[in-house]
Structures are given as C-alpha cells and as structure tokens.
Amino acid sequence: MGNKLIVTAAPHITSGDSTQKIMGRVCLALCPTLVASIIVFGINSLILTAITVAACVFFEWAYCKLMKREVPIADLSATVTGILLAFNLPATMPWWMAIVGAFIAIVIIKQLFGGLGYNFANPAIVGRIALAMGFTSRMASYPLKGVDALASATPLAVSGELGSGEYVTLLLGNHGGVLGETCAITILLGGIYLIATKVISPMIPVTYLGTVAVLSLIAGKDPVVQLLSGGLMLGAFFMATDYVTSPTTDKGKLIFGIGLGVITCAIRFFGTMNEGVSFAILLMNLVVPYIDALTRQDKLGIAKKKKEAAAK
C-alpha cells in the first residue's frame, strides 16, 4: 500500500479559470454588437460572421491536422478571431474575400508563427489590413439598409458635415461602416462586461480613448465624434486588449494606450486615410516586446535597495 501516491511539485490546486472560459467571455461580450449589426445592416451580417468564424476554425483545425499538432479549436481563440474579423468587414463583402481574410489571419499570422500565444500581431487586424489593401473598393463601400449611397460613407469621411445632433446616430450605430464598428453602445456594454469579469484591464481602453479625446480637443475636432466613429471603440475594447499582442504590466498598458491614441489621431488628422485604428494597433503590436522589457514592475525589496544605494 501507499506506494501509489502521486508526487508533484506545488501548488496542487489551480484557479477555475481557463483559456477557453476567457475566450468564451470575449465571444459573449461581442454578441450584443453582433445583434446591433444585424439590425443595422441586415441578416447579411450574421451570415458573414458565421462564414468567417467557420473559416477561421476550419483553417486552425486543418493546419494543425496537416502539421500533426494537437488541434486547439476548443480554446475558442479561432472563434474570437473569426468574429472580430467579420466585425471589420462591410456587410456586402463577398464571402470568398472574407474567407481569404480568415486564411491570412489564422494560417499566416497565427499558425505560421507557432499558434496561440506566438503571433506578433493581432490576426484579425492583419486580416482586415490585408483585405483593405487587396480589395480597397470593396472594403470601403459601406452600404446601409434603406439609406442612400451618399450617406453611407463612414462618418469619419464626412465628419466635417456632422453636427452634434448626430451623436445619437453614432451611439446607436445607424450609419455606414463595417459590421462591428458602428454601434458604440453595444461595444461599450461588451467592454464593461469584460472589465467586470476581469478578462481585460481598463487601462488600455481608457488611456487609448482618453488620448484620442485630448488630441481631438487640441486639434479642434469634436472629440465625441472622434471617439464614437470609425473602429475606435471596437479597437480599444476588443482588438488592442488582445493579450498576446499587448503589454503585460499596467505601466506598459499605459504607454501602449497613449501610443495607440497618438498614432490613430496622426493618421486621422494628417493622413489620407479616414481610419487609423487598425494601423495604430498593428504598429503598436510590433513594439510590445520593447514596451514589456522597459516597463517591468518594481520587485519587492529590489527597487528600494537601488534607491537607497543611489541616495548614499
């Protein structure tokens, strides 16, 4: 007897949370925005989302099978990428283009670099950028159910003509844009849910949105319009907070958020593009390793010693 006891290193218990549960909560947080997009853009939104999710999960499954790796689709990370990718596409996007986007996101950006946790940039963001580069006109046509073609441009393209009376439109998302960007209220709802369930820290969205608001005021633009239009809300709460491609510490997140805000405003105010969020996130993704290395926490007993030594 007795010789069959298991011997392992401590700790012997783990928390109830898991990667799958975290990703599940992100999916749940995206649901209100999906509903809003169906209301604003019609049933095509749902079909497009279903296609990108199915494509992302399929590519993840197929690649891992092909490479004889364990298939990780149960962790729901490919599902999240699929939903986010769809949210970055206009409702009229041809299905095959969406599938190309899913391939770029999952196979090229995620799996070729080693799978979950090893991608250097947010897969959905790169998928969006690749499609925007390859199929520019398709990605920039924002049809809106029952609205004439002129009004269907993204509000940022015509922001000069928008009065404060348009705030409600921006909040409800009843304007041109891609699926998941238009309804600020549902994005905010999902974001608050993620913060409340401790999936994300409020640091990145708050500093990102705060920086954009301040810079808009300085540049003489309407900060409310800047905050509520384009991909900013979706980007701030769901794309910039991706664990793998954002800094770890609060200090790092602060710098990351400010950097995102500065780049976004620079592109919006001085660039030829209407939209700066996806490029801001991509650029900041690339410097995350440096931010991480420069923003480590003060370790207990070590920082103090240095300070004391400096004082002496």
């Binding site: 928390s15 793998v244 770890t248 070590i302």
Partner: protein
C-alpha cells in the same frame, strides 16, 4: 496610483476550504511508535543522542543540535529506542531518524522544569533548549531568529497569523484556544528583546480570532486585519502590509527593524516559559476530500501519517495525493509511513481526481502571473528565459527572489506549471547556466 503602477501584486483569490475552523483541537492517543527525523528544521541536521535500547521519557533530548543554525529534537513519549534508521525526507534526501516504541506510561523526564529566565541571554538559551523552530512551515530555528545582529534597531514584532493556505485552520485554533500563551509569548519576546511594538496580522476570514485577539491585546500590541488574498502570510508580504516596509533583497526582516514569528511559535514560547516542556507535540489540521473525519488534532511529533489518518476515520476512497502542509506550498509525501514533523501544520489527502492537475496549454500572455506575483516578478518571462538557458536575463528578472508561493501557477488560465519551472530556473542560476 503610483503604487499601482509600481507593482500590481494582486495575489490570488484561493478557495478558503476552512471547514475545520470551528473544530476544537482533539488530542490523538499514543501511536504505536514515533519516528523522529533528525532534519526537522532549516540548517544542519541534529545528531542522535540516544542508542538502541535506551530508555527515554517525555521531553528527553533524542537529537542534539548539529550547529548554531540547528535544533535539538525531543521525545514526545516515554519508552525505548527501538532503532536508528534512515528514512527518505519529503525533499527526497536520506535522513537519519530515531524510532521509539512508547511504553504507555508517558513519564516526564525529570529535566523538564520551567526555565529560569532573567535577561536576553537566558531567554535565548531557553528558546534554544526548547527545540522550537518556525512552526508556520519554514522550520527556521527560532533561537537564531531571536538573536538578530542589529538587536537595537528592531522596533516591531510581527506575529504571522495570516494562515493564507486553503484548508489549514490550526493557527485559527491556536488563536482561540491558546490566547493566553500567545500573549505571554509576545510579552516575553517584547520584554527581553526590548521591542516596543507588536502587530498581529490575521486574514479577515478568521473573524473570531480577530475579535478574540483584539479584546485580549495589551499595550503595544495591535491586531491587523489582512485582506483575504494569498499569500498574505508570506514573510515579506506580511511585513509590507503590516509596517509598510520593504525587506531588501538579499536581506532579512531584521534589516528593516522587524522580527516575524508565527502565532503557533510565539504561543509555544509562552507555554514553554510556563511549563518547560520542549516541543514534542503539534496541532495540525487533517483535511482533504478523502478524509472521513476532518479535524484539528494535537499529535505527538514523530507519529506516522498512517496512524494519524486512522485516527481521523481513514479514507473514504483511495487517496491520490497526500500533502504535508497546504495545497499551495505543501510537499507531497510518497508513502504514509512518513512521520509528522515539527513544522507540519496540516496533513491533507486528496482523491485521485483532485490530484490530477489539468494539462498545460500555450501561454496566452494574459499577464495574470505577473500581475498576481506578490513580489512583482514576471513568471512568464522567467520561464521563457529558463527554457532559453538565458542566465543573464534570469539575473535581470531577479528569478532568485521567487519564494515559490505558487501564486503564478494557480492563476494561470493555461494551467502552466510556472512555479516549479521557476524553482528549476533558480537552480540553473546557482549552477551558472547548467540545467
């Protein structure tokens, strides 16, 4: 905000599982034998002071301290030395042990008399003779701890009653059952070491203990309610939360004018000064999902785990894992013949189902390990540096500061065994880069 940006140190919200907290301590009857390991403390092992066939009594010295940082070991039974054997210590190393068969009479050694304590020196000698080691789990000889080099700079005695590990309630019972001994012990330490202030830190999940100590506390003694965040009981964390001081690394609590003692240790000091009976018994929590009757037991040191389990009604099903100590930092034992040691505060037995840890998956860089680490270390970076064999980075990341509290592993959603990997990283640092 500034502290917030400095170090999040969230700790972990571990389950409490303190279902034995209201169970009054019961005395376990004499075991059929006791096995006294000569290595029940940090430092040099003791040397057996008895030979086969010798008659011993309750309180007889069985093992003589092997140096300054060491401790005497006393018999908890009267009886005959059966043999001197080699056992496998929980860390896997061989250790000498004295086996004693009780005669059932429990005759007390005539040498056991209350010590005469008049000054610091005689107090330190008494503590040394008592065989006391840190009972919170570390097992550091208390006499050494009570002889800091900078004695005149020590201004605060911190009593560790956090008991942040799940399941364990023996310190809670100590607060409730040995209140007077705790106060006597604290007052003695404060008097002879001339420490003006004492802070008793207790986690908020022990309201009865907090209330009892608050009403009992005399002048200079403050009771501090600590948040229920593991690891409140880690020495450096406790000192920071009680006094606001950061113990430098490398360094000791005495460097910031603090001496820390576990509540059970200080209660023992109080009891020893009154009775002169050395450390031969220990209160411990027996719990876990396969223990039939979880309880707090006062057990004679050296009692085989098997007999303790039988006293608690045995197992409801075959155990998968049996631990000395709590589930966060406790050590697995390989078989039930292992004896209870001085620094044990719990024996936990878990089913095979609970014993299996979930499979590790890819790191998603969520940063929970970093933001939870009470010391501000970045577990994921340390483990990466270890895997890469990058000793320079390990030094930069201060991997050797890690105290293996297990918080990083606990919070990891990918279930990665971060704490054990960091333990290996520390060994690699010591070996200058060899795994």
């Amino acid at each position: 905000m500034s502290k917030f940006l400095k170090r999040s140190a969230h700790g972990a919200q571990v389950p409490h599982e303190k279902r034995t907290s209201n169970q009054e301590t019961v005395k376990m009857p004499l075991p059929s034998k006791i096995v006294l390991s000569m290595g029940q403390h940090i430092g040099a092992p003791a040397a057996p002071a008895v030979a086969k066939g010798d008659q011993v009594y309750v309180g007889t010295v069985v093992g003589k301290a092997g140096g300054f940082v060491s401790s005497d070991i006393h018999s908890g039974v009267s009886g005959t030395v059966d043999s001197i054997i080699t056992i496998t210590a929980p860390n896997g190393a061989p250790q000498t042990a004295v086996v004693i068969i009780p005669d059932g009479e429990q005759k007390v050694d005539p040498a056991v008399v209350p010590p005469t304590v008049t000054d610091l020196k005689s107090f330190q000698d008494a503590v040394r003779a008592s065989g006391l080691v840190g009972l919170g789990g570390a097992g550091f000889p208390t006499a050494v701890k009570l002889a800091p080099k900078n004695l005149d700079e020590i201004d605060t005695l911190v009593i560790n009653g956090a008991e942040c590990e799940p399941y364990i309630t023996s310190d809670n019972r100590c607060f409730l059952e040995d209140t007077q001994y705790i106060l006597d012990g604290i007052q003695a330490v404060m008097k002879y070491l001339e420490i003006p202030k004492c802070i008793i830190g207790i986690e908020a999940n022990k309201p009865e203990a907090i209330a009892k100590m608050k009403s009992a506390a005399s002048a200079g003694i403050e009771v501090k309610e600590l948040p229920c965040r593991y690891p409140q009981g880690a020495e450096k964390v406790l000192i920071e939360n009680c006094t606001g001081r950061e113990v430098p690394f490398p360094g000791l609590p005495s460097d910031v004018g603090v001496v820390v003692m576990n509540v059970t240790s200080v209660a023992f000091v109080g009891k020893y000064l009154a009775t002169g009976m050395p450390l031969t018994t220990k209160r411990l929590t027996v719990d876990g999902d396969v223990i039939k009757e979880p309880k707090n037991v006062e057990v004679i040191i050296g009692t085989p785990v098997q007999e303790l389990m039988e006293f608690c009604g045995g197992f409801t099903e075959e155990p998968g894992k049996v631990l000395y100590g709590g589930p966060m930092m406790g050590n697995c034992i390989a078989d039930l013949s292992q004896p209870i040691m001085k620094n044990n505060n719990a024996v936990l037995a878990f089913s095979k189902k609970m014993a299996q840890l979930p499979k590790a998956t890819n790191c998603i860089h969520c940063g929970r390990c970093t933001n939870a680490c009470p010391l501000g270390l970045s577990a994921k970076e340390i483990v990466q540096a270890y895997n890469d064999g990058n000793v320079e980075l390990l030094i930069e990341l201060n991997a050797d500061l890690c105290m293996s509290c297990g918080t990083c592993s606990f919070v990891c959603p990918a279930k990665r065994p971060l704490a054990p990997s960091i333990a290996l990283a520390k060994i690699m640092m010591k070996n200058g880069g060899k795994k």
